[in-house]
């Protein structure tokens, strides 16, 4: 009987130095798939490689040998001795392999639980396997189930609901204050990777305009160009508070760049429209007392980190629900997988009958004087006898009503007719 086997390494089992040695690039994975398929015991194959993990999924009729072949293949293809990575490699078979694929796709096994990219990457890997024709009945079914399970977990649990990066957390907050970000104006003070990332997320939220204030005006102009925005002078910041709604600050200034009295002065002119300050700088740029003013909200880097920590905890709680959905899906897949075995059993049964009939016909037709026409009639009778005899057992095996005991019946049929010993 065919079995599903998975071999892999990930961020938990192997350091980056090892993972990068084993990783397959997109072009490499095509030729890798073909060399895998050339192995004797591998019937179907799928290769999945990201910066955090490499997984090889194969369908085989002899799992022990397939594991050995796959290990050999990884060593050979990456030109790295087996001993060097064998300790980091995990091997899952059958249900465990299925469970692992479901968990990886649903991002339950990711470094940051619930991160959304992984599903897309698996889809990409599957598409490659389809194009290279290395995926067959079993992997097709498995992968389709995988996509279904991953989507279900994403929609039915809060696994990916809340931001787990500083820049996303800031944008999520902005949405809770302003609702839609359209028509909102953003002021970026200073520059910095996280601040720029947050601005990019905000732009994706269709904010109206980005202003950039930098001590060095040229730098400001360059950055403004990048965001399709406008550079303003550092001394224009207090004035700009009348107009902008979201302020992201990340300068190297030793003192506060914006103080409460500056904000107080513009509140009336802003007609009390809310102001949201995101302070990513250390030491801080925005005086925390501004948070006490009405309709003004100040979040510094620690506040944002605090939120992220809470969100990560939340995701882990949600992940438990995800595991339950995975458990159910594994059982469902196993049932399908076992039902698949009915067909080979029926074929084996028919082959056995045909073989017996052939042998007996040979004896009978040799012994007595039988004309061509009579021989034909006897053969026909033998064929229809086989069909008549097999009709009911075949119907029984194919019937849907015996779901729970399917494996038992298949086992019995195989024993009764001695289908497994040739």
């Amino acid at each position: 009987m065919l079995d599903i086997v998975l071999l892999g390494i990930n961020h938990n089992t192997a350091p980056i130095e090892l993972r990068e040695c084993i990783a397959f690039s997109e072009d490499q994975s095509k030729s890798a798939l073909h060399s895998l398929m050339r192995k004797t015991f591998i019937k179907e194959a799928l290769l999945f490689s990201t910066c955090n993990r490499v997984e090889v999924l194969v369908v085989t009729d002899d799992s022990a040998r397939a594991v050995a072949e796959t290990k050999g293949f990884i060593a050979e293809f990456n030109k790295i001795p087996l001993e060097q990575f064998e300790g980091s490699l995990y091997v899952h078979e059958g249900n465990e392999a299925v469970r692992h694929v479901f968990r990886v796709a649903a991002s339950l096994d990711s470094m940051i639980v619930g991160e959304p990219q992984i599903l897309g990457q698996i889809k990409e890997a599957y598409r490659t396997a389809i194009e290279e024709k290395t995926s067959g009945v079993i992997l097709n079914r498995l992968l389709h189930r995988t996509f279904f399970v991953a989507k279900k977990i994403r929609s039915e649990t809060g696994i990916g609901d809340r931001a787990v990066s500083i820049s996303y957390a800031a944008v999520e907050l902005a949405r809770k204050i302003f609702g839609v970000l359209e028509a909102k104006k953003v002021l970026l003070i200073g520059a910095g990777e996280m601040a720029e990332l947050a601005v990019e997320h905000l732009i994706r939220g269709k904010v109206d305009q980005v202003w950039v204030a930098n001590r060095t005006f040229e730098n400001g102009v360059a950055l403004a160009k990048q965001f399709n925005g406008q550079a303003i002078g550092f001394e224009e910041i207090p004035e700009s508070l009348k107009t902008v709604d979201i302020i992201i600050s990340s300068t190297g200034a030793p003192d506060y760049v914006i103080r409460p009295d500056q904000v107080k002065g513009v509140i009336r002119k802003r007609k009390n429209r809310p102001l949201f300050f995101i302070d990513i700088a250390v030491p801080r740029d925005i005086d925390p007392d501004i948070n006490r003013l009405s309709n003004s909200y100040v979040y510094d880097i620690d506040d944002l980190k605090g939120i992220i920590d809470e969100n990560i905890e939340d995701r882990q709680k949600e992940a438990i629900k995800g595991e339950r959905i995975v458990d159910e899906a594994v059982i469902g897949f196993r049932e399908w997988y076992e039902s698949l075995d009915v067909v080979p059993t029926i074929i084996a049964l028919r082959n056995k009958m045909t073989a017996i009939a052939e042998a007996e016909l040979k004896k009978t037709l040799q012994a007595s004087m039988i004309s061509e026409q009579e021989a034909k009639a006897i053969r026909k009778m033998a064929d229809s006898l086989i069909n008549k005899i097999l009709h009911d057992p075949t119907q029984f095996l194919k019937r849907n009503g015996m779901h729970e005991n399917k494996s038992f019946y298949i086992d019995s049929v195989r024993k009764l007719f001695k289908l497994d010993d040739y």
């Binding site: 204050i177 609702g179 009336r268 007609k271 009405s294 979040y299």
Partner: protein, 273 residues
């Protein structure tokens, strides 16, 4: 009749359950169920009012039982309208329990038909009463939105994102819809006062008679007028506006109930227990 009231109580109650389940579990179908149940409850509620109308031959607002029921009906109607227009999923958490409470109270109040007098048949009275109640419903929802605003604002301000942060919509949305409710409420209240004046002139021969209810209605009107004026000129919004909406509704409840309980005047008969 009684049984129809019970049916609507049951539906409002189930709707409350649905909305609370939505608050905790956050599944969209719960919120849709809550909304649907409230809609059906509203239809049954409408039946009771139509029945009262046919039976009495006039708008059924002649005793506390009928008046309170009518006020609840207006809240349900305005809520459904706001929900339909803005799809603010969480507001039901406020509207559904209030409706349930109102209808349970209604069912406990005696429904003794008041002596049918001519005054109930006046066009001005009918408009006065219906418009005032729609206005009150607007203010009730504005109060609910104010409460939700303060809950959400508190979580954002204190940086402790606990229960409400992910369950409530953005501050801006709560503030804007609250504003719409107050505008609707204020317009209706104004219209209601005008029709009341016209009616008073027709019945008592004067527009204004310093009846306690009139005085308190005037105070309420002035309160909301100030709130709207400040919002339009200096932009009173957010927290302050939310607090004002809540205080305003307290004043309104006093005008509606308190005046009848503690003071006397020509509105007394209509809201007598």
């Amino acid at each position: 009749m009684e049984s129809i009231i019970l049916v609507s109580i049951l539906l409002y109650l189930l709707s409350t359950v649905g909305y609370f389940a939505y608050l905790f579990i956050q599944k969209d179908y719960l919120q849709r169920t809550g909304f649907f149940l409230l809609l059906i409850g509203f239809l049954f509620h409408t039946l009771t009012i139509v029945y009262g109308f046919i039976k009495g031959g006039h708008l059924p607002v002649s005793n506390m039982h009928e008046t309170l029921s009518f006020a609840g009906w207006a809240i349900a109607g305005v809520f459904l309208g706001i929900q339909f227009k803005f799809n603010l999923k969480i507001l039901g958490i406020f509207a559904a329990p209030i409706l349930t409470g109102i209808m349970i109270t209604v069912s406990q109040l005696p429904n003794e038909p008041a002596a049918a007098t001519k005054i109930f048949k006046s066009f001005w009275l009918v408009s006065h009463v219906s418009v005032i109640f729609i206005g009150e419903a607007g203010f009730a929802l504005a109060c609910g939105l104010g409460i939700l605003y303060l809950l959400q604002e508190n979580e954002i301000k204190t940086k402790k994102h606990r229960f409400f942060f992910k369950r409530l919509p953005s501050l801006e949305m709560l503030d804007n819809i609250g504003y719409v409710c107050i505008v609707v409420g204020f317009a209706m209240l104004t219209l209601g006062l005008i029709t009341g004046f016209v009616y008073a002139k027709a019945v008592w021969g004067r527009f204004w008679s310093w009846d306690p209810k009139e005085v308190w209605a005037g105070i309420t009107w002035l309160f909301y007028a100030v709130l709207l004026h400040e919002r339009l000129t200096v932009g009173w919004r957010g927290r302050r506006s939310a607090i004002m909406a809540i205080i305003g509704f307290v004043v309104l409840i006093f005008t509606f109930l308190g005046v009848n309980l503690f003071m006397e005047g020509h509105h007394e008969t209509f809201t007598r227990f």
